[in-house]
Symmetry: C2
Subunit: 403 residues, 2 copies
């Protein structure tokens, strides 16, 4: 089964609406979004592993459990993370679900809530209360584009992806929006991501597919090694396509998983590409490793090394730093069997440098997308990780974010 | 017993000489150093835990074992790390010990060798061979100042420390030189450091003291989270002070450990202060933790967070990022018992923000030295970590280091 992927616009699945508005949490940008399934639907979500879980994360986790995964809507604000805000923060997050529930005539337990922005500052409810009617009026199938805009913080542009395919003649759609540029590090879900689909699937399989797709996408990107207090990756499926119910791990499940993984990877890559201050999109490929776990640990370590990321920002084929990072991974490997390729140019063989054409390397390093391949002689396992270079603009953005 | 500490100059212990010269490995700066004990002496050393151990590290480790810790000299070059250089690199490192041994009329197994600089480029022997006689001629007790200069790479200035005290009326000295500004992360010894002392002590206790002092100094600093392939912390003791032999863990050992720890801390702090691009010296104190291990893990996580380090570079009291980093440590703690102080201003209490005077906070953050105290309600354990802020200059230095 083939999926038609479109990373430029949202093709809304049947029965879904969304809206995005300016409520006043931010000074002038869009800052409040609502996603709604018109028909009964189920949901699944993955949350941050940070010990300081933001209030909306705590409320969403509770609602998912209380309601056995029946999810009809997601309300999201940007500009304030409602994290480390104590009991008041929890009340605010709960009120947000109540406001959405009232607007949509559903129960509050069917609503997930997410926030993103500054940590530790009380989130004002007034802008949300005052503008809730307008938020509802704006709901429409085409509203995902403005919703995608309303969830952004330091992102330079909105991040969307849609996938279309069919099951037994019924067209099905998977569409997602996401945000994130900093505080990005793989642990459960990283950042905020909302995916809707009109496939018909059991809640158990929906959760399973989300987990697997997340591992190969959101859990394989890094911008700066920091994990947010608010990370949420949520999916709602409403079966509005009238496709046959996916209730076992057979062909239809595998096809759905394939499409969901492609959507999640597209969204996750858009985050790495838009890493704060990033000018280059880096793919770190590890092959020939002794296990997938080891391959992932090494790929992550290289992706997080400041010295590797600054060397690539400087378009410098400084492969010694790549070996340094590999050597710090804590993984056992045959160090005399390590080769490194920048693009298709081999720069290191058997743990030692090999002569290479510096001009050709420079041409590869000047591109916007750079592949680094690290080849071990220890087995057949591999892993991919996606990250960005580290530039002075990252410092600019983060030294003066709050004030 | 009191130690008189001097971090501005080297007071050479009795019976030691050193020299530093320009050999041509670097274009124009000093790049070759020699440290020599005139009388029989013992040594101990801690090395990098990176899997890619540089050739000089491998040779030094072998010599220490072969010679039961009898060490008379250390030869060091900067400008080239002789790391990831294969068999040729090992031959070069071995030749360096032979050259030094011949100059000093000792066996090569009594010589340690260290290199620092770019990784993966063959280290030329010619400049060392050609200039070895000059290196020997320059040996003198006052030569430690030029030796301290000759081991530097991206450092902005030399880093030295001396401590003087006495045991039973005999004056003893501990003096050290160190280098390091980037690729600094605590794991065994970080960076290069050479310490000489004229105390009389057994090899076993010398090693034990070095380990303990390292834990509280070199293993408690971080600049960028990357661990070099060449890290070495070495000490030579020659007993030339004629002080009574320290052969048990009694009072004299404790006193020596105290002095050695102070010297190592002074040197390590000089590295954190001189972190690449650093403008501020940050002390991260964790108190009230459930165990010293947990306190250290948390202090390290906060010290390594790019978002914390950039916020402090921007003089922004963004304590939410500190909580975010704590929450990512993987340590279990009572999140409602966490307080954060910037200087003496409390910015977070019981895991929530408290109102504070932003102007006062700004005044503290504008200083060159900032203390961040993280208080838990879980026990009595504490830990200190030292790091620096992350500025645009770090990117400048590291994006274009090799070329």
């Amino acid at each position: 089964m083939q999926w038609k992927i479109d990373a430029s616009e949202i093709i809304p699945p049947l029965g879904f609406q969304a809206s995005g508005i300016h409520s006043g949490i931010k000074e002038s940008d869009l800052d409040l979004a609502l996603i709604f399934s018109e028909t009964p639907s189920i949901g699944a979500a993955l949350f941050t592993e940070n010990s300081f879980k933001a209030a909306p994360v705590q409320i969403s986790q509770k609602h998912l459990i209380q309601n056995n995964g029946v999810v009809r809507a997601i309300i999201v604000n940007s500009g304030n993370a409602n994290a480390c805000t104590g009991k008041t923060g929890l009340t605010t997050a709960l009120r947000m679900t109540e406001i959405a529930a009232q607007l949509l005539n559903i129960s509050r337990e069917q609503v997930l809530v997410c926030s993103t922005g500054v940590i530790g500052v009380p989130l004002p409810l007034d802008p949300i209360v005052t503008n809730s009617d307008y938020l509802k009026q704006q709901l429409s199938p085409s509203g995902f584009q403005t919703a995608a805009q309303a969830i952004l913080t330091t992102d330079t542009g909105r991040k969307v992806c849609s996938a279309i395919s069919n099951i037994k003649g019924k067209q099905i759609r998977i569409s997602g929006i996401t945000k994130g540029a900093g505080m990005i590090h793989p642990q459960m879900a990283t950042t905020l991501a909302f995916i809707v689909t009109d496939i018909s699937i059991t809640q158990k399989l929906l959760y399973k597919a989300l987990n697997e797709a997340c591992r190969l996408s959101y859990n394989s990107i890094s911008v700066d090694g920091d994990t947010s207090t608010n990370d949420t990756l949520a999916i709602i499926a409403n079966g509005a396509s009238n496709s046959p119910l996916v209730d076992n791990e057979g062909e239809h499940y595998k096809n759905f998983l394939e499409g969901l993984t492609q959507v999640c990877q597209s969204l996750a890559h858009q985050i790495a590409r838009d890493g704060e201050g990033a000018r280059k999109f880096l793919t770190i490929k590890v092959v020939g490793a002794s296990s997938e776990t080891n391959a992932t640990i090494i790929a992550r370590k290289v992706s997080n090394s400041l010295l590797v990321k600054t060397a690539l920002a400087g378009e410098d084929a400084n492969w010694g730093r790549i070996l340094m990072a590999i050597g710090n991974s804590g993984v056992n490997f045959n160090s005399q069997g390590v080769s490194v390729f920048i693009g298709d140019i081999q720069v290191c063989k058997n743990g030692e440098g090999v002569p290479f054409d510096e001009r050709k390397a420079k041409m590869i390093l000047q591109k916007k997308e750079i592949d680094v391949t690290i080849q071990f002689n220890d087995g057949n396992a591999s892993a991919h990780f996606w990250t960005c270079d580290l530039t002075k603009k990252y410092i600019d953005i983060n030294a003066y974010y709050r004030t």
